[in-house]
């Protein structure tokens, strides 16, 4: 079975970066709010990573459509609010605006420059950051979930047509977000980050376990589902996508970060420099796994009409269908 190619690499990059941006903003905002913005590098890097990832993701989305310039005129192109894509497009627009404002006001030099231009903002910096962190956290979570809802709501793809897809993408996005937040904390000077890092590593362990559970439930449900669902699940488990699935998604994306996180939490590695390197490896693996997950789910989303005897019968009996 050949994999579907109507949405290729660019939408997969967008689904990954959208999740990464939303997850990173959500997790880092919580850490920043809880610790009262104690970590300057986290405050500086995480909103820019979120805004940048979302911007690049949206760029991938725009170049994929047949008429990119027309798509950018959002007030004309995204008008049917009965479509999840329209709701998502405006959600992404709001998210990137809030992430961007948060990033600007979290960067001391830029914030000072903006304040010198717009005088009344002078005393509002802390408030703006706080509000954008809170609003952005909600938007970030919604963006992460929306990447999955977009696929679920399409309707004719047996693999995607389940609430497990948005669940899986949201959990995976939070995992990626927690990993990026850990990476930001690793760049922090001083040693006050230990507690936050430990809490986040624990969160990553929980999220990886949750992701493994959701993925298992998804594959089990699909394997016992309609012929279209069965073919998609087989493509992942033992078909043409089994190598990236078991190698990149499961081994590198789930097993390695879980083992390294567990090693970190048990305190087996005494050498601080080695522990730091292991942390970075875990983060890199989580990101590779996150991208591979989106890619294989997209590619295995084979159109029902291509695989399902049911659908072929439906075509034969289509006259009855449309009455």
């Amino acid at each position: 079975m050949t994999v579907q190619s109507m949405w290729g690499l660019e939408p997969a990059i967008y689904l990954f970066l959208g999740g990464l941006a939303g997850g990173t903003f959500f997790v880092s905002a919580i850490v920043r709010l809880v610790t009262k913005d104690r970590f300057p590098r986290l405050a500086l890097i995480s909103p820019w990573v979120s805004a940048g990832a979302l911007a690049v993701g949206l760029l991938c989305l725009v170049v994929e459509v047949e008429k990119p310039l027309q798509a950018l005129m959002m007030w004309k192109s995204f008008v049917n609010f009965g479509s999840w894509m329209t709701i998502g497009a405006w959600l992404l627009f709001a998210a990137i605006a809030v992430f961007g404002v948060c990033a600007i006001f979290s960067t001391p030099r830029l914030a000072t420059a903006v304040e010198s231009l717009i005088k009344p903002l002078k005393s509002a910096r802390k408030g703006i950051v706080r509000v954008t962190l809170m609003v952005g956290a909600v938007l970030g979570l919604l963006v992460a979930a929306y990447t999955g809802v977009l696929l679920m709501a399409a309707g004719a793809i047996p693999l995607w047509n389940t609430a497990l897809i948005p669940t899986l993408f949201t959990v995976s996005a939070l995992d990626a977000g927690a990993s990026v937040t850990i990476a930001c904390l690793l760049l922090e000077k001083g040693s006050q980050t230990a507690r936050s890092k430990k809490a986040l590593t624990g969160a990553v362990l929980g999220l990886v376990a949750a992701e493994a559970v959701v993925l298992s439930v998804l594959l089990l449900t699909l394997s016992g589902g309609s012929p279209g669902q069965f073919v998609s699940a087989s493509t992942l488990i033992e078909g043409s996508l089994s190598m990236p699935f078991w190698g990149l998604v499961v081994s590198i994306g789930l097993v390695v970060p879980f083992v390294l996180g567990a090693v970190e939490l048990t305190g087996l590695v005494k050498n601080e420099e080695l522990a730091r390197i292991l942390h970075f490896i875990a983060v890199a693996c989580a990101l590779v796994g996150g991208f591979a997950l989106r890619y294989v789910i997209l590619a295995a989303g084979i159109h029902g009409v291509m695989v399902s005897p049911d659908t072929q019968q439906a075509i034969m009996g289509v006259y009855n269908l449309i009455l």
């Binding site: 109507m6 047949e66 008429k67 696929l151 793809i157 995607w160 989303g301 006259y319 449309i322």
Partner: protein, 172 residues
């Protein structure tokens, strides 16, 4: 009764000659290797030596509740009230491909101007009754394609079933 216009494809008569597909591409001046509004599909059933090949000419089904209409972000696809034809406004379409994933039959195809699909040749004009003339139907050499309202197609199918039943009886 519904005023829904339909194209009905009779798989008992189709010989997979692709004349409908060629006519469609010529009349709508479809560029080579871009979109395709009508496709002849084949599928096989049974096992050797009792294998059966079935041919079917397929295009947009103009569904009663079209999935493509509800998912289109640009609101470029609409179902006409007067005859039930599902039409796409290519000026509004941004070519996001989302409708392909919403169509149960995988019908929408795309070129640089957006989504392209069967409009029952509405774009080529209508007769005095306001009806289009689908050129695939007019071209089909084996008369496997029928065009008409739901009532008219109902009649065609009823007649076909009756003839089949009669043939069966006479065989017995």
């Amino acid at each position: 009764m519904s005023n829904q216009l339909m194209i009905y494809s009779d798989s008992d008569r189709c010989i997979k000659c692709w004349a409908c597909q060629v006519a469609c591409k010529q009349w709508h001046e479809t560029k080579a290797a871009t979109s395709s509004r009508r496709n002849v599909i084949e599928y096989t059933s049974g096992t050797f030596p009792h294998v059966e090949r079935t041919f079917l000419s397929m295009g947009c089904m103009h569904c009663e509740k079209p999935g493509c209409v509800s998912v289109c972000p640009a609101g470029a696809i609409t179902k006409r009230g007067e005859d039930g034809i599902v039409v796409v406004d290519r000026d509004k379409c941004i070519g996001c491909h989302y409708c392909y994933f919403a169509c149960p039959f995988g019908v929408p195809s795309y070129d640089e101007e957006g989504m392209d699909k069967c409009d029952m040749c509405l774009s080529l004009g209508v007769d005095e009754e306001g009806r289009p003339t689908p050129h695939c139907v007019a071209t089909c050499p084996t008369q496997a394609l029928y065009f008409g309202t739901q009532e008219e197609i109902d009649e065609v199918i009823a007649q076909k079933e009756a003839t089949k039943a009669l043939a069966h009886v006479s065989q017995v």
